[in-house]
Subunit: 221 residues, 8 copies
């Protein structure tokens, strides 16, 4: 372990679980985030480290202090170091453009955790023709992440169209009495399509980790 | 009004709103239900009266005491007297066979309230091909009732496929943490398809009344 | 479809469902809203396009860049292009002056979707004489939208006074433990008046679409 | 105090608060209820004692063992001993016949606690003419109890029609997603009519106590 | 009625219900509040009018434009015109100093609605000796308002100590998982003291109206 | 460990934590409960073992097959073997007689876990004189358990009267909208008396274990 | 498809998704369940079909009418026809013996859907030594299902011990205020271990399908 | 008592309950907090007084006006006067660094209330080795406070490892649908480890008071 004063960094996680190091940016100062990334990268120069939920000010600091960092202003992530060679492909499917920040966090996580993300945007079920046009591409993936807010019908429709492991990811996108995404969450947990599993609202990181673990151990594609 | 001892029957409703008389059977004894139907029919021999939520024992009594009554054991309704000539057609679309009791109560209500019900069963969105096969039939109706439990994605998919007035009817069919139909209800209220309206859980009667009112004043078909 | 960079606009919706194009303004920048309206109007110069939930800054931009636009600062809508000739009339009835923003969004939607809105304001049930004075005007409409917050008794009272299709629209107006409009929503969903249907809280757009679809296919009035 | 083995009876309450003794029957055996009434009556032969929530079996036992008891099978109450001379009048107003058990418990409580109950039944707001016909009778009472289930609009309408102290009493009568009376409760707590106060769901006893206390100290009528 | 452009003022309420005119300040501009008070006072120069929920800026404007107005910065009320001669006394009892804003709004409402408020502060049940010291003063009032947040035990303890009509008024004062006052509300609605009635959270106005109506028709004291 | 076929009994718990063995009876058959008790007693003949939530049929079987067992039909517990010599005293204080089953389970647990229970019944806060009469006895205990349902004001009042460690135990006793004891639970968690800790609803066993652990390590009394 | 009168059986699912046919037994009669199994088996004699949530009476009928059926009285499943050769191994890990019915349904589903289930029972986190003893066996599986009720800490502890895809399965086992398993559900959805995914409460079937799909496409073990 | 104008300070609490005086800083101005501390310290110069929930501005003022005050910027507490000699030791155990503010408030409270706090940080259950390394130190304390947010598994694991009185303290640390700490709260209340008691979310003060009371009367260590 390495002690930065404000946190003890676990430098040996990859040995134990095969996963990379991650800095959860929410509630940390810009200085803490960039320092943690720098220290982790120094310890493991040959593989990527990831920071999620990185605010605007912290991304600016990373731009200054971490040359070579890959910074996504939509998904609010910062990646440092070379991505692993991808094993398996994960389809990251997203109902509306408002879900894009969650989808981008999710896709980046997939890449850092060792699989290839394939982002399919704006295929909500209220316009079925758009979804059906992408059916084969989605069904051929090693794992599928279905992202939706509002009434969140997407995972159920997808579950009837393909047999790959399917992770439903609810977002807090909605209006009126949608309970900050709980409606989407409930819809997904009650899907009549068998085998759908769910993560917490807006948890693009969690869905990405789960899907990457599935994809990188697959021989399906 | 007519006083039966246990209730004051409103014999003049049709004059005021154009709607038939209805006996809500829940919480009433078999004797009370059959007596109320008989008295209403006597007052208005030329048009149908309806009883809903009629339990097994009460349906048996109606079979004995009300010759000519039309009794639906699945939808738990009893109809007495001639149905009105239908104006307009209502598509009553239903996701699963478990939703059938609610769908039948709904269809009978549509008929008694003066429109033609058209029951389309077992077209859940987890098997899209079945729904797409019925698309034109549904889209041509004067009003559509979309019935679903569990994750209740049906109204959203239907809302993207047709432009007729669409009433979503959630049912309490589900397993685990589905909150007795609240999940379906929430999904419908948050549908991303514009113009979807909703009634209470399992309220086949309410949806039927609303749809019949729309259909019988329509010139669409 | 037309690709604006930040969204794919669906230019063919009217062909499929008979409905106009709409820009949902929440979460979009002023530039995005005005550009979307301009592009939609260019594609369909002969009919109106609508933007809802347009904030103060975006309305200012539309005033500058879209000469001829009809801008409602209370209902927060922007309309561009000629309104369709109205078919049928929709009574938009509203319990209190606090409900006016929702009522105005609703009335504008009715007009853009092809029916005539008739706004009846400040007829809450705590002062019954005001409501009874407007009874005949409301009952003669092809569809009625009953808007209320707080305890939301209006749709039930209206439902007993007239037989037209009735859409209840709850608002988030209230004080103390009113759950951001859930109280009004629950009241409406549990109305003892038969045939009342409901939309989500503050969803003036949704209620307007539903009512316009009913009214424009009616031969009632 | 008197010790019956299973309970310590408070024989001196009337001295402290001016209220009679009450046996809450729920969860007590028929023997316990009849014994408690007998013992209380023996201690205070000149005034009435009341038992509420008395089940069918316990009412049968009271009929056998307590000659002279006044037993209400609808309101599930047993009264023993002479009622006090009433001071003031309480209008007990009730929306539907399903609310009658609660209304009867309420009216009996009013009488035992020293005021005159005046029961007005079946005046729900979906049929306004029935309520308006009883307006003057209700407005002239010293206190008003407005009882309703479902959407519970009655207290708000009554609150706009009369200025007497008004207690709203929600009942668990309803269908679908009505949350065992919580809908009615919420409606009443959020009433836009000023000065409405509320008791717990189905708490006819509590509303009756409150109203009787108000009425018996009034000089209004 | 008088039309101010932004509202129709009801100038005849006192005739119908015996209550004064009130301006609910929440959601109104400083100009609207002061104009409404001025207009009402002009119509009824001989009796008080009240504005509640008046924000800091609006109170400043009232200080400038309404000489003679009585302005309470704690209770956020503005009163204009002579108070009515009080009939009856209302004990306004309050558990903690944090409840003072609600208690002051309540006391002012009592006075404007025609009874004498008697404010008893800081007598929470965690220090019983303070409450017991005020027992006789409270028990002798014509009506009692028990105000409390957090666990809200005060009304139950008071209900065992005195027999006057008792209105429980929950406040949103609390920490951690107190649900913005719902905890206090639930405690009060479930009080084991008979006859306790409740108003909405922080609704000092509503409790004051109810108590004043009771007190001014009483002959108790 | 000992394998009974249907469960692996942990025979060494006392060594690790100093606590006795316990059989949680809910969901087990009468045969399973009596066999588990017999087996545990055989392994540890010198100290008591406890079964909680033992239904009527299972208690009957224990009466037959376990001579010498101490069976409490109110608290639904079965104790087998000699109680430990008590260290410290726990006041088990209970608001109403309806709370007695929970209080008895709690007191028996205290005894089996090595402290002396002192049961104080029927001292609800709506009759303060009864509680104040027992004040010194309660305050002198090494730990206090305050048991209450409904509005659950008891722990707050007790917390202001004594300084011993105080555990609040909510019960599901209540009527109307009390949410199966959640009201009592919320009241206790939000108590304004400092240092009050809480266990789950009706969890007499848990409160007893916690209090006994405190009392048996105390030198207070 | 095959029409049995009461249901349309989908005989071609395996072709589309690679999954076997399943009969969901809840809400079906014993006759319907055994008939559906017989018909499906006749159509696909070379592979297994599964019925879940099969009640006692229906299992008895299957024993009579379906010789060769594999019937699990704990997991309430019926399997007919030869299991597929397993690809991959799924560790089905379960906190307490009360969770066994869900765990057994889950394990049988895994087997029918083509992977090898490995059931590890009674390793709750309150006795860590038992869980640590099974650590290597669990970590080596291709997928892990962590089953727990009550406070449901198991998935989080497991997530820190192994890196395989991990599905959390909450059960409704609990006491007091556990909300029928919602507590366990919430715990799992909020796990601080990355990559944990969740299914609905008691949904052993859903977790089994998801895990089998992952395991059978894996090259991990 | 001492009257400061804005509050009545209770100067005699220590005599009655043995506890020190505390100023709850939330909702008080910087001037009020520093004045209250100064006045309490003047009355009891020989023992410590504590202020909790002290905001940044108020801590600055205390730094200026109260020389000798001990100010904790993380735990947001201010302590004035000499700490009492500690009796007994309290292990304050904390799952993550985000829980530190609550843990520090808790530890300071323990010290001011007369016991020795022993802070053990960053021992979450997702990394069991860190927790097991501190096991003996924790188990030897007179009382244990287990602090955790998110899924809050820590108290259950600790409860299986040691037999000391254990207080669970949930924090509002979490992401997505964690309900502001309710998830952690529910987990703790439903812990399968016997004898765990709980305080409100983020209530470090309450847990500290309870633990100090237990520890200072203990002879365990």
């Amino acid at each position: 372990m390495a002690d930065l004063g404000f946190a003890r960094l676990d430098l040996d996680r990859a040995v134990r679980t095969g996963d990379p190091e991650v800095v959860f940016g929410a509630g940390k100062t810009p200085e803490q985030i960039s320092a943690a990334l720098a220290r982790l990268c120094q310890a493991h120069p040959t593989r990527a480290v990831l920071a999620t939920r990185v605010g605007e000010e912290a991304r600016a600091r990373c731009r200054e202090t971490l040359p070579g960092a890959d910074i996504d202003d939509v998904g609010r992530t910062v990646t440092l170091g070379p991505l692993p060679a991808p094993r398996g492909r994960v389809a990251v499917v997203c109902a509306g453009t408002s879900d894009l920040p969650v989808a981008r966090e999710c896709a980046t996580t997939v890449a850092v955790f060792g699989a290839e993300p394939d982002l399919v945007v704006d295929v909500g079920v209220a316009g079925l023709h758009r979804l059906l046009a992408e059916r084969d591409r989605i069904a051929a993936a090693d794992a599928v992440i279905a992202i939706a807010g509002m009434e969140a019908a997407l995972p159920t429709v997808l579950g009837g169209l393909c047999g790959a492991p399917l992770i439903a990811l609810p977002t807090s996108v909605g209006y009126g009495w949608h309970l900050d995404g709980l409606t989407a969450f409930l819809t997904m947990v009650n899907s009549c399509a068998p085998g759908v599993v769910t993560v917490n609202i807006d948890n693009g990181f969690g869905a990405g980790v789960a899907a990457a673990r599935v994809a990188r151990q697959s021989v399906r594609s």
